[in-house]
């Protein structure tokens, strides 16, 4: 079946512009994560959605960052007034979550954001 997809794959934007990044998780996966990865670095957790619960936004670096997940499926990460330090690969992952068991995350290919 289809995996996690992200669009666009690459985005170049000018400093100060807003950008929207999209994630289509695997159908039926109730958990969805956004991460950011700067060049040569580890993954930085941004936000986590689980079903109808309030999202965990503890990783969002500033109020310029926001995300929503409509209908428990597609998610959009929005960065307002982009800065050069926002340049990174933005990764989305989804996970099946049943009861107390944990399952592996399935990652999308990422969106490479370049702010000029």
């Amino acid at each position: 079946g289809a995996g996690v997809s992200q669009s666009p794959s690459n985005k170049v934007t000018e400093k100060g512009k807003d950008v929207e990044l999209r994630c289509d998780p695997i159908s039926g996966h109730t958990a969805l994560y956004w991460y950011r990865q700067s060049l040569g670095q580890g993954l930085e957790f941004l936000i986590y959605f689980q079903g109808n619960s309030a999202p965990d936004k503890s990783g969002l670096p500033s109020d310029r960052f926001s995300a929503e997940r409509t209908g428990g499926s597609v998610s959009t990460l929005t960065i307002q007034r982009t800065q050069q330090e926002d340049s990174a690969v933005y990764l989305c992952a989804s996970r099946l979550n049943r009861g107390h068991s944990s399952y592996e995350q399935y990652f999308g290919p990422g969106t490479r954001l370049t702010v000029t």
């Binding site: 996690v4 944990s102 995350q105």
Partner: protein
């Protein structure tokens, strides 16, 4: 704070040798997972070991878990050039989502 930190940060070995990387974590966990990342794109899940398991194998991969030391190791035997990648561990605490460590960058030289 990170739950899952890999060691070493970078590792370079010859093809055919074994590669060992370690992961330490801080709180009680439900399971520990290892992932691989090629060339800065999406991560791929390699193996999951549950907190009541001590060792697990998958092909050339061997994972151990020591909950008393809050540590895990990933062993890749008979390494190949295609194993060159970054390897991450994630150790989800009970009842929480999980975060990834900074990773180990493995280079397998032909």
């Amino acid at each position: 704070s990170q739950q899952g930190e890999e060691d070493p940060q970078a590792l370079s070995i010859q093809e055919g040798e074994n590669a060992t990387m370690n992961c330490s974590y801080k709180t009680s966990i439900n399971n520990l997972q290892w992932y691989r990342q090629n060339s800065g794109r999406g991560l791929v899940h390699l193996i999951l070991i549950r907190s009541n398991e001590r060792e697990k194998h998958s092909g050339r991969l061997r994972v151990t878990l020591d909950t008393s030391k809050k540590s895990s190791s990933l062993l890749i035997t008979a390494s190949r050039a295609a194993d060159t990648a970054s390897y991450f561990c994630a150790a989800p605490p009970y009842g929480q989502n999980f975060v990834f460590g900074p990773g180990t960058r493995l280079s397998v030289l032909p």
